[in-house]
């Protein structure tokens, strides 16, 4: 612990009032939305619940997706409500004042869809209410907070099968990640046995709070009443990558963690170190810390023939040094000189070119670029990530509603992810190895 925590944060936190972000109440039943089924060419009218930092990030991307129009926003914290309205710029009707005000929004018949970016403990009830009100739903990861909420959401989704329910794990909408996963699943890495991932930061992970009475509302991530900590907010993205690569959920998890550096009154760990075990002995080793940022965040997928190191915007492929077995009668024919494998083994091969190809300006280069883009536009060939994955996931959401496009990150993926988060935290809290329930045959 450095001496930079000069001010007594603990006192500050003690003084903070308990924020009114409680959930729980009866579900509402609204009229079915206009767009209960695909309707190409229409505009999706949506409402947005929770216009804080992450909510406004999504809203910013939504401003450039013309297939949807924001007609309502909802937040109980007035500065965030204002920021949300300014960000989207479509003059939405606002709902504020009480944590249940969103239900009034859900009563609107002209509302097709709801996007939810609230504190984690509020997700489940809002998703269930929105589904039961006939709305399509996008909910930020982690999908839900408590184990029992998964089944309740599933039930509501099954009762409203025509509605889209998409989870905000944006890597699922990334072309780079999809290409990486094709490499994994088509054997480019050989037998994939291990994933190592980390999300390392060197800051308090707190947001600035001017008035202590809003501490728990703004820094909800720090308090167990609302938050699953680093596991729910950061690891959730990356455990999903291991699930995707291995094609399976984990079967057990063990881990540790603690509040060992930022002793500022927070209730969630400032470091977590976890091992997820998957079928057939495959494992994921994970860490998230808040006191060193050197390794930042990425996922390293390791097979017996190669490695992928991937993160948003960049993926590198490294071959394992290969041994070749032939019959003993092969003719020996050796050449001296540099080998091409050194580059592939040590320096790696980028999945996509690093940045735009703007440095080349020849006629053929430009024609080639247009040809690549033309092929990419038809889904034949992928050579770059054309949009921010946040944008892509939101665009996919609109396309699933309007055009019936497959959901980029459906409920099942979100549930598997949420289980890993919940069991991972349980393993840390109890110091025991936590096993996934046996699946019924």
């Amino acid at each position: 612990m450095g001496n930079k925590r000069r001010v007594t944060r603990r006192d500050f936190v003690k003084a903070a009032a308990v924020a009114a972000v409680a959930g729980g109440a009866k579900p509402v039943l609204g009229a079915p939305a206009i767009l209960s089924g695909p309707n190409p060419g229409s505009t999706v009218h949506y409402g947005f619940i929770g216009t804080g930092t992450e909510g406004c990030n999504l809203l910013r991307h939504l401003t450039t997706i013309p297939e949807g129009r924001c007609i309502a926003t909802c937040d109980i914290y007035p500065p965030n409500l204002k920021k949300g309205v300014e960000t989207i710029g479509s003059n939405p009707q606002t709902y504020t004042g009480s944590p249940f005000e969103y239900r009034k929004m859900l009563e609107r018949k002209d509302l097709d869809a709801v996007l939810i970016a609230t504190p984690l403990n509020l997700h489940a009830q809002m998703v269930i209410d929105s589904l039961n009100a006939g709305k399509h739903v996008f909910v930020e990861k982690t999908m839900y907070f408590k184990e029992e909420e998964g089944g309740l959401i599933q039930k509501a989704a099954q009762a409203n099968p025509k509605q889209v329910l998409q989870i905000g794990l944006q890597r699922r909408s990334s072309i780079l990640y999809n290409v990486a996963m094709q490499m994994v699943h088509k054997g480019a890495l050989g037998k994939v046995m291990f994933v190592r991932a980390q999300w390392h930061r060197n800051n308090s992970w707190r947001r600035p709070v001017r008035d202590p009475k809003f501490e728990r509302l703004i820094n909800w991530r720090m308090y167990r009443e609302y938050s699953g900590g680093l596991m729910a907010e950061l690891a959730s993205h990356q455990v999903d990558i291991a699930n995707w690569a291995f094609g399976s959920e984990p079967i057990s998890v063990m881990g540790t963690g603690g509040i060992d550096y930022w002793k500022d009154g927070r209730e969630v760990c400032d470091n977590i170190e976890v091992i997820f075990e998957y079928p057939e002995g495959r494992k994921m080793l994970y860490s998230s810390i808040l006191y060193n940022a050197h390794f930042q965040y990425n996922e390293q997928i390791m097979g017996d023939q190669g490695t992928l190191i991937i993160t948003i915007g960049k993926g590198m492929y490294y071959r394992e040094a290969a041994a070749k077995v032939t019959n003993g009668k092969a003719k020996e024919n050796w050449w001296a000189g540099a080998t091409v494998t050194e580059h592939a083994v040590q320096k790696g091969i980028p999945l996509f070119p690093d940045g735009t190809e703007g440095g080349k300006q020849g006629f053929l280069d430009r024609e080639l670029l247009y040809a690549k883009r033309w092929l990419a536009s038809m889904g034949i060939y992928e050579y770059e990530e054309p949009h921010d994955p946040y944008w892509s996931e939101l665009s996919n959401f609109m396309a699933s509603i309007r055009d019936g496009k497959p959901i980029a990150c459906p409920m099942e993926i979100g549930m598997a992810d949420a289980r890993a988060v919940i069991y991972g935290n349980r393993a840390i809290d109890t110091g025991t190895r936590v096993f996934w329930p046996k699946k019924e045959a």
């Binding site: 000069r6 930092t53 401003t63 800051n203 001017r210 703007g358 054309p386």
Partner: protein, 369 residues
């Protein structure tokens, strides 16, 4: 535990120079911000927090005063997050950025633009119209022809230059406010916000500071633009040294600023030499050639977006045409450093807007050797 502010508050911009090779922009400067003799008495209850962050191919620095270092750190982190978002949006290096998407698609069909970026594009076109095209965000192909994008400088052939010039001109861009869309009238047009985005990012950073109640801070985007929010303890403004355009180790002017921004464009940061002739990175969009006969320009304005764009625009225009702009636009100060006939020194010309109605909370004094 409380560390008093340093007597000499040089924000070490010299230390960031190794990062500068990534810098691709039209205007560059080297600034040395200093606080004015902060008396210990006034600083007793204050703590100074300073942090830097790489983004937009440069290093952003925030230095802020407040009573709680943890709070200052949290606010500064928020500032850097906002800057990163702008980088992700406005980079022409990242294929995922909104700007790359515009450059890819706006010739084929109108592209809807995020409101903040749309406003910045509107402002950019206004600077172009006001300067008769001396400021132009479509100079990207020219920068590439001269090798200033991801590469070493090179002398383009006449054909290459003619080809690049065909795709340059802000008139190729149409903005439709009703639909908030942008379109290009032919393929090959490319927007490069290198001459304005960092200033815009500084303004957005200052807004985050203000929103969080910070009243004494300095924000700089590498050697490009700087905004002085309030003043450091015990001083009436932030002192900023502007480097001699011919000598990196010498300060040529000291500017004292409060609630104003300052930007510099210089020919000394990014250039190459062929056959003994120096070619700098600031292009005249009309001729396709690097601007000659200007060493650097300094512009002070209430907005960093404004000063960033104008320092480039004035660099191309020179004091003559820039003077006309200053007659029509209030609250600006511009300093021009021109080569002297002898070649060993320079000429300095300072111009001010005809009209100044800055609030008393703002201050600018310029003290040159």
């Amino acid at each position: 535990m409380i560390e008093p502010p340093l007597a000499d508050e040089r924000i070490g911009l010299f230390n960031f120079l190794p990062f500068m090779r990534l810098l691709v922009r039209l205007s560059l400067l080297l600034l040395l911000p200093l606080a004015t003799n902060p008396p210990m008495r006034a600083a007793d209850s204050l703590v100074r927090y300073e942090a830097s962050h790489q983004a937009m191919g440069t290093v952003f620095t925030v230095a802020a005063y407040g009573s709680d270092s943890a709070y200052l750190e949290e606010v500064t982190h928020e500032v850097f997050q906002v800057i990163d978002q702008l980088d992700d949006q406005m980079s022409n290096y990242k294929p995922t950025s909104e700007l790359s998407s515009i450059n890819r698609d706006a010739a084929a069909h109108p592209v809807i633009v995020e409101p903040g970026l749309f406003k910045l594009l509107q402002d950019s076109l206004q600077y172009s119209r006001d300067s008769g095209g001396d400021f132009d965000i479509t100079v990207g192909p020219l920068m590439k022809a001269w090798g200033f994008f991801r590469g070493q400088g090179r002398l383009p052939s006449k054909e290459e230059l003619a080809e690049a010039l065909k795709r340059i001109g802000y008139q190729h861009i149409t903005l439709n406010p009703a639909t908030r869309t942008i379109s290009f009238d032919e393929p090959g047009i490319e927007i490069d916000l290198g001459a304005i985005a960092k200033g815009y990012a500084v303004d957005q950073a200052v807004q985050v500071l203000r929103d969080n109640g910070i009243t004494q801070a300095l924000v700089s985007s590498g050697t490009s633009s700087i905004y002085a929010l309030g003043s450091p303890p015990g001083a009436d403004g932030w002192k900023i040294s502007v480097r001699d355009p011919l000598d990196v180790n010498k300060a040529v002017c000291v500017v004292k600023l409060r609630n104003l921004s300052l930007s510099v464009s210089g020919d000394y940061e990014k250039f190459f030499k062929i056959n003994g002739k120096t070619y700098a990175h600031i292009m005249d969009p009309h001729t396709g050639m690097p601007v000659e006969n200007m060493l650097s320009t300094v512009v002070v304005s209430p907005s960093a977006t404004d000063s960033d764009a104008l320092s480039t625009s004035f660099f191309v225009e020179g004091p003559g045409r820039a003077g006309k702009y200053l007659r029509r636009h209030p609250n600006l100060t511009a300093v021009f450093f021109l080569p002297a006939p002898s070649g060993h020194a320079f000429r300095r010309i300072t111009l001010k807007s005809s009209v100044t109605d800055l609030p008393p909370s703002s201050l600018v004094t310029i003290d040159c050797q």
